[in-house]
Amino acid sequence: MKQMSFDRRRFLHLGFAACAGMALWQPAKAQTRGEVTAHVLDAMSGKPAAGVVVELYDVGGEKPRKVAQTVTNAQGRGDLIKDKPVPVGRYEMRFAIGDYFRKGSPPVAEPFFDVVPMRFFIAKPTESYHVPLIVTPYTYTVHG
């Protein structure tokens, strides 16, 4: 009987240790993740802009260096960096908006903005950087 209670206590201790371990392990795993994502909304049609080429450049050096490229999906969303730490630094996201409107229905012959660049600083490698762009051929709003 005494032996039994000792085993039970040891079992409970092991259980607590496992729970504590999991609790500590989960945030540690979350901290290694970072992401840079884009979302394009076409304010002309009032719909998400699908098929927009979005590039990400590291602009910390002498010349901009492309680090990622994506094409927005049917929801207007695109992932540039997902589930990995993002090196701290200055970046430029470039949205190929001119191509999107020229190929649109109806096509816009001369959109005023061709490439929309957005420059921003990534200070925390494990943070989520989401950059929405709300755009027409002659105006846009972009923010972090």
């Binding site: 010349k63 901009p64 200055r90 430029e92 001369e110 005023f112 903005f113 061709d114 490439v115 929309v116 660049p117 420059r119 921003f120 600083f121 200070a123 002659y138 105006t139 846009y140 709003t141 972009v142 923010h143 972090g144």
Partner: protein
């Protein structure tokens, strides 16, 4: 006698009309900068104009906004055709105001890319900004 005078007056009037038309169509590039946080215009912000050719950039000119938030980047044309980038030094401006977001600030300079396709065109490109984002448009 009467006809030559009428003709001369007509020619003169036509020339004057043509020259004043030419004067109003020289081409210009201007901006106005508004700060959403303060609710007013941004006075004394530096704006640079770069010519863009692929990944190469060449600085053309630099101006600062006046007390009315406006700046003439190119006051009088003809404007050279090409691809350009206006750089609004929002980061420097916010640091001076003590309202920059993040350290280093999230926004440094705000680049606006556009093309000049008409040398005598009127290009007005306003910027409305806050520490995390901005709006721009082709103005009139």
């Amino acid at each position: 006698m009467k006809y030559p005078v009428t003709l001369a007056v007509s020619v003169l009037a036509a020339l004057l009309a043509f020259s004043s038309e030419a004067q109003t169509r020289k081409g210009d590039l201007s901006t106005i900068v508004m700060n959403v946080v303060s609710g007013g215009i941004a006075d004394g912000m530096t704006i640079e104009l770069y010519e863009i050719s692929g990944e190469n950039t060449r600085k053309i000119t630099q101006v600062a906004t006046g007390a009315d938030g406006r700046a003439d980047v190119i006051a009088s044309g003809p404007l050279p055709l090409g691809k350009y980038e206006l750089r609004f030094l929002v980061g420097d401006y916010l640091r001076k105001q003590g309202t920059a977001a993040g350290n280093p600030a999230f926004l440094d300079f705000v680049p606006i890319r556009f093309a000049i396709t008409d040398p005598t065109g009127h290009y007005h490109i306003p910027l409305i900004f806050w520490p995390w984002g901005y709006t721009t448009y082709r103005g009139s």
